[in-house]
Amino acid sequence: MADARKGYSVRTLPGFAIVALFTLVALYAPIAILVVFSFNEGTSLAIWEGFSLRWYRQAIANEAVQDAALRSLFLALSASFVATTAATMAALATTRTRRFPGRTIIYALINQPLMVPEIVTAVALLIVFAWIKVWTGHTSMIYLIVAHTAFCIPFAYLPIRARLETMDMSLEIAARDLYASRWLTFRRVTLPLMWPGIVAGLMLAFVISLDDVVITEFVKSAGQETLPTYMLGQLRRVVTPEVNAISTAILLAGAILVSLFFRLTNRQS
């Protein structure tokens, strides 16, 4: 791969510096401003009045934020755990079996949430869950967990599948040759080797769930605010740097998980 690119430097392309600069500014300047103003002394999002952790303290003390944060964590943990379990089984079934008819269709079905517009899924879930809620009178978190699990599956599936595809099948054959049953082959060889992929998938699914607004907004019942929907609600009223502080905290959590994800997926076996 590197050979094909040898002797070809992007720096010599005309306009490279301007495009790069524009892209970086467009991507990161707004985030930088958001982070900076989360430390603002005053209530303005435009006028800097000095450094303070006031809004962080306020956010942490705010019971509605605490409630939404805990719910977000619970939801992201449950959904990413279930989604990763399902994705692991799906990845094994689509890479570790003989070719069977319909394998490509199954692959497309698993990744469907990546292709269907989120708003369509959200409206569809809203309607179906509304029927069920009326019919059963049941309004717990289960609806959110099911919805999040569904759209998290492809994000968990792709890194696990990528990991399995780099794993030589001959290792499993060797284990079978050395008297391991199917289960022990999985326990002692397949699972430990695919583990980095599973952890990566879990983290990616967790971040995706933590971050979701559209589907959550449509599916949640009264009093089931997550951090993103809480922030959306706040923005409709008074905007203070408290929202910046919460955003910065989420950004930090996400950044940590995503960098761990890249470390795990790039590490050679």
Partner: protein, 354 residues
């Protein structure tokens, strides 16, 4: 020990079906170093996979010590494999790799530790037992793969071109090492290779395969000196094929000269094709005497230990002769363009089944 009975293996179905093995039968004796030799795609690896249990035979049976194992999964066969790419577990140390089979067999801890130590000593890897398998060289990985497969003390060890990834010097060392391990452990080795020299140096017996069939089974000497058909003769070593006329055990070459020859079963009398190995031919300058053929020297190629001459016979056939070099042999080799007298060593002529 192992009996392969009429094994056939077909992959795929209908038009895309491919038959990798056609009605193969062979007996492999206990404590034997048995080699499957053939070009790539000849079915040798498929036969090995059938014995290991990675594939079931389409037809036929595989018997181990008299009982049919064709339908047993690989983990229930007392057979272990050394894979071409070694297939060492990358998440385990050298010692853990070697212990794997014993653990799966549920051996007690003390016994496992003892056997692993023995194996490490046997392949001379004691020093590196705690290393990851990615931290050792190819030759060392090869020895770990061997130790791992030998540790459960299988009845049969299968080796799938295990030396092909090694450089020449290491390969020679490992050939001797494998031979030593086989005699020290007393385990039956079934070795797959496409390298005829490897097959001849290491094996007790060799089966030459082509296009899904076993063509000939015999000792390295049999295979080399008495090949039964042209493919075997051509695949192993350098060959001259000449036209001849056979009456009983006597062969008269089209180029002249009568010889007593070895005749395989099923060859009719009359026109036949015979094999003469280049090193069984002597050449000297000058006119032929009784029992010698006349020839013209076309090329002379010096290659260190030997000199190879291409000779044109009276019939137009080309004959290759290979003569060992000695300090004083220079004068004896005729030059290019010279007339030469060719003599063929007694017993050097073999009739081939075409």
């Amino acid at each position: 020990m192992i009996q392969i009975e009429n094994a056939t293996k077909t992959f795929g179905q209908g038009d895309s079906a491919f038959t990798a093995l056609r009605d193969v039968s062979v007996d492999i004796a206990a404590n034997e170093f048995f080699t499957l030799l053939g070009p790539s795609g000849c079915g040798k690896t498929t036969l090995l996979r059938l014995i290991a249990g990675f594939e079931p035979p389409t037809k036929g049976a595989i018997l181990l010590s008299g009982s049919d194992i064709s339908r047993l999964p690989p983990n229930q066969r007392p057979v272990n494999t050394v894979f071409q790419n070694y297939a060492l577990f990358p998440h385990m140390s050298v010692a853990q790799n070697i212990a794997f089979g014993l653990e799966m067999l549920g051996k007690p801890k003390a016994e496992i530790a003892k056997t692993v130590d023995e194996m490490l000593r046997l392949v001379r890897m004691e020093e590196l037992k705690d290393r990851r398998t990615s931290e050792i060289s190819g030759g060392q990985q090869q020895r770990v793969a061997l130790a791992r497969a030998l540790a459960p003390h299988p009845q049969v060890l299968l080796l799938d071109e295990p030396l092909s990834a090694l450089d020449l010097k290491l390969r020679k060392e490992m050939q001797i090492e494998l031979k030593r391990l086989q005699s020290e452990t007393g385990i039956t080795f079934v070795f797959v290779t496409h390298d005829q020299e490897e097959a001849l140096t290491m094996s007790d017996r060799v089966a030459v395969m082509n296009a899904g069939r076993i063509l000939q089974v015999g000792s390295p000497r049999d295979i080399y000196e008495r090949p039964s058909e042209r493919f075997v003769a051509n695949f192993i070593g350098e060959s001259n094929f000449l036209d001849a006329e056979r009456i009983g055990g006597d062969v008269t070459l089209a180029a002249g000269g009568s010889f007593a020859a070895a005749v395989p079963e099923g060859v009719p009398e009359g026109k036949v094709s015979v094999l003469i190995r280049p090193e069984h031919i002597r050449v000297r300058g000058g006119q032929p005497e009784a029992g010698e053929l006349s020839a013209k020297v076309e090329t002379v190629v010096y290659s260190g230990d030997a000199t190879t001459l291409h000779l044109r016979l009276a019939t137009g056939e080309v004959l290759k002769a290979r003569m060992a070099n000695a300090p004083d042999s220079d004068a004896a080799v005729p030059a290019e363009g010279q007339d030469a007298a060719v003599s063929i060593a007694p017993g050097a002529v073999t009739v081939l089944r075409d």
